[in-house]
């Protein structure tokens, strides 16, 4: 029985969203050179022995760039997956569960990548 205006106004504006929008653009821009660097790193080591590849990724500059890529990509992925959920998943319960799952997934992938790079970089 709510009026159309009441329904449209709903719970009001969240007064947020711009930060997420901007963060997704920033991580997108950061990902371009970082992914190119990753591809070049892999291509230039095709067929190289394990120790050489490991030594390459242990270099501080390479490790920093790889860390930057994994963190940036994980954030970008979390935002992108949430966008898809917001677009397509309806019903508050299903939305909350889906958001939890993609957040844990993105955090898990990001953290595992960070640990792997640190292990290589710190030589342990």
């Amino acid at each position: 029985m709510a009026t159309p205006l009441k329904r449209v106004r709903g719970l009001g504006a969240a007064h947020r969203g711009t930060e997420t929008f901007w963060r997704q653009r920033m991580t997108a821009i950061a990902n371009i050179p970082l992914v190119i660097f990753l591809i070049l790193s892999i291509v230039s080591h095709i067929g190289a022995p394990y120790d050489e590849v490991r030594a390459y990724f242990a270099q501080p500059v390479v490790a920093v760039l790889m860390l930057a890529l994994m963190i940036s990509a994980a954030i970008h992925m979390r935002i992108g997956l949430k966008e898809i959920i917001d677009d397509y998943v309806q019903g508050e319960g299903a939305r909350v569960i889906a958001i939890l799952l993609v957040t844990f997934f993105a955090a898990g992938v990001g953290l595992a990548s960070v640990v792997a790079i640190l292990k290589i970089g710190l030589g342990s």
Partner: protein, 262 residues
């Protein structure tokens, strides 16, 4: 999940062929129209009726053909129309797969039989008449009028020529809803996403040099659903029968919000 298929009671059935031309009639003279019909009182599914319009007796636009059908074949065919010159926005519908105005769409611009449906993803009241209640409520929600706090001047709120120019491409919108109902984001989240037409209107008041509530207006748009469901799909700009660019207006809103907060 989003509903990608039509619910059972909305599936379009084969309809009636109203006035097939007589055998041997010159084929070029008759233009075939397949028109979506829905009668809320009958309780039946919608159907696609076929009419043949005598082009020697009918004007060139799709709206002319619909009026011809209503006058000559089937007076129950229901659609909105008023100005017949692309100014009122009443006769917006989906013609040959595109949301546009029946009055400015030349029948010769479509090939073969011309399919005519109501605007997509709005509840259908009857035949080609969709329920625009939610759309108008969304327009009301962005408060599309001049809001000022300074004392009202004796004569008028003055605006420079340059500032007035900024409203070009915004003020011409006739609120036909062709853009909003062409937008997948609006299809899926039309209850919370304002859609291109309303966001263009919002930008029209935010761009207006005389309006003094720019910040409040931006506050009301800063929302993951109201504004940020726009993914720059650009169906809106492609659909606009007035040649406006709602996507650019939305981009301008996002730019202002980033400029303000980031």
């Amino acid at each position: 999940m989003v509903q990608f298929t039509l619910p059972k009671n909305s599936k379009v059935k084969k309809g009636k062929a109203w006035n097939p031309p007589a055998q041997g009639a010159p084929a070029a003279r008759y233009r075939e129209y397949r028109v979506y019909r829905f009668d809320p009182d009958a309780g039946d599914n919608p159907r696609l009726d076929t009419y043949w319009v005598d082009m020697e007796d009918c004007g060139p636009m799709v709206l002319d053909a619909l009026i011809w059908i209503k006058n000559n074949v089937d007076p129950t065919l229901t659609f909105r129309r008023s100005c017949r010159e692309g100014v009122c926005g009443s006769c917006s519908m989906n013609i040959a797969g595109t949301n546009t105005l029946a009055c400015t769409m030349h029948a010769d611009d479509a090939r073969g039989a011309i399919a005519v449906y109501p605007l997509p993803h709005l509840p259908v009241i009857k035949d080609l008449v969709p329920d625009m209640t939610g759309f108008y409520a969304q327009l009301r929600a962005i408060e599309p009028w001049l809001k000022t706090d300074s004392p009202t001047p004796q004569k008028e709120w003055r605006q420079s020529k340059e500032d007035r120019d900024k409203l070009d491409g915004l003020y011409e919108c006739i609120l036909c809803a062709c853009c909003s109902t062409a937008c997948p984001s609006y299809w899926w989240n039309g209850d919370r996403y304002l859609g291109p037409a309303i966001l263009l209107q919002a930008d029209r008041w935010i761009e207006d040099s005389r309006d003094e509530r720019t910040g409040e207006r931006l506050d009301e748009l800063d929302d993951p659903f109201r504004l940020y469901r726009c993914h720059t799909i650009l169906n809106c700009t492609k659909a606009c029968p007035k040649g406006l660019n709602p996507a650019a207006a939305i981009a301008s809103l996002k730019r202002k919000l980033v400029e303000r907060g980031e």
